[in-house]
Amino acid sequence: MSKDFLEPIHGISIEDYAAMSKKIVQGVEEALVLEAMGIDRAVWDEVNTLWPQRMAEDTSFQVSILYGRYFADETPHPKLDALKANISPEGIANLARIKSDRYFFEELSGARNAAYEYGLDGAQWILENFGINLGDFQSVAMQYGEENKKLDSEQLMEYLHYQGEKKDEYAEKFAAEQGGNVADGVEF
């Protein structure tokens, strides 16, 4: 990868960009995030166009990998730490649980996938039912993504299998709520 790929854009580094994006996806108002970083909309629009362009141009994928790492990183950003998304007490408890209990995380991932298959916005469904916003959910997913590199394939398969089982369980629930699947009643 060329070193130029990691040069800040208008003074916004990849670390800043990931932290800003995370705050916005968590639900913090965009204007507050820009104000905290001391930039205006015209600067942000360019930053938010050019960093994704760099990710697409970088054939080594290092920019994207770093973005993911910073997005998952929970070290407070010096300029953004004061901005907190509104999280319910239930959301705080569930967020702590998906971090400590991999099976619970896999269950919610399965539920989210099932929700999309039944015409729901899965991210919104998780927020409404478990109080976890997409920014935090993605951040935890990226943390597990890093951890996966240290796991053997058997352990990985175990998690994947569990997620599949949970997805089927939630799919059944969503199907029931919507009056069944269209192929119900077709028997061998």
Binding site: T49, E117, L120, D121, V182, A183, V186
Partner: protein, 276 residues
């Protein structure tokens, strides 16, 4: 053919063969009928869903565009459900029967061919079913691209603020939006030189995404020519160049970035011949 096989064979396994013959025919008939019923459901679902999706896709606001996405996802979710049903049934009913048969009749056994034909027939029918399913899936997803030209023109108009006249916040002199902007931009007032900021609005920010899909759609015939013309590096290069030329025409302000990606793609994907 099977009858002549039976005549060649005699002995204690004849009864077993007869039972197997009946069982395999039964499974095959059921499997064919099962897939046909699933195909009927798919057809009913998709032919009813396609006009709905096309209508929803014409939405011009964020909320209704999300409704389109969710309905598309729900309909393809049902195709997935049908796909999984066929997959599990194939596993449990067809393959398990075949494995059981193969345990009893080794490849050298004269009756083995009967089972082998059963397996081939079932597989062929399964492939037809899958092709039918992916055909519907493709049609459903294509609804997202059907009116891209129209949508591009509409958003382009928004990016130039539809010719609307803006005035300088400082001195009131007119500031014209001479070209399409998809993000905020500072424009100096021609009279007093004050920097005004033009924000083209939320819809304009969709322009790069529409342009990406539209470029792909406009050069689709070239991609087909590459696919059907022996997948040569030259045909691939023609397709790739044309795609990026389209993108440059629609988003000239990002040309330098497009060109970097063009060179990356041209260098890594030389067409199939180039990889040999």
């Amino acid at each position: 053919m099977f009858d002549s096989l039976f005549h060649r064979q005699s002995g204690p396994d004849k009864a077993a063969q007869l039972a197997w013959q009946e069982r395999l025919r039964d499974v095959e008939t059921r499997w064919f009928a099962f897939l046909e019923k699933l195909e009927d459901r798919m057809e009913s679902l998709c032919s009813a869903a396609l006009p709905e999706l096309r209508a929803l896709r014409r939405a011009t606001d964020d909320v209704n565009r999300r409704v389109y996405q969710k309905v598309l996802s729900g309909v393809t979710g049902q195709l997935q459900n049908i796909h999984d049903r066929a997959y599990h049934t194939h596993d449990e009913k067809v393959l398990d029967t075949w494995y059981e048969f193969r345990e009893e009749f080794k490849m050298t056994h004269a009756f083995f061919d009967f089972g082998h034909t059963f397996r081939q027939n079932c597989e062929k029918r399964y492939q037809e079913f899958e092709a039918c399913l992916w055909g519907w899936d493709k049609l459903l997803h294509e609804t997202s691209r059907e009116n891209l030209e129209e949508e591009y023109r509409r958003v382009l108009e928004i990016c130039t603020a539809g010719g609307e006249k803006f005035t300088c916040k400082q001195c009131g002199a007119p500031i014209s939006i001479a070209r399409a902007f998809f993000i905020s931009v500072n424009l100096p007032c021609p009279a007093c030189a004050t920097q005004n900021t033009f924000d083209p609005g939320s819809e304009a920010r969709e322009l790069p995404f529409i342009a990406r899909d539209l470029a792909e759609k406009r050069v689709a015939p070239l991609y087909e020519a590459y696919q059907n013309g022996g997948r040569t590096p030259e045909l691939f290069r023609q397709y790739l160049r044309a795609r990026y030329d389209e993108l440059n025409r629609m988003l000239p302000d990002l040309k330098a970035h497009h060109e970097k990606r063009y060179h990356n793609e041209a260098a890594t994907t030389q067409g199939d011949e180039g990889n040999e």
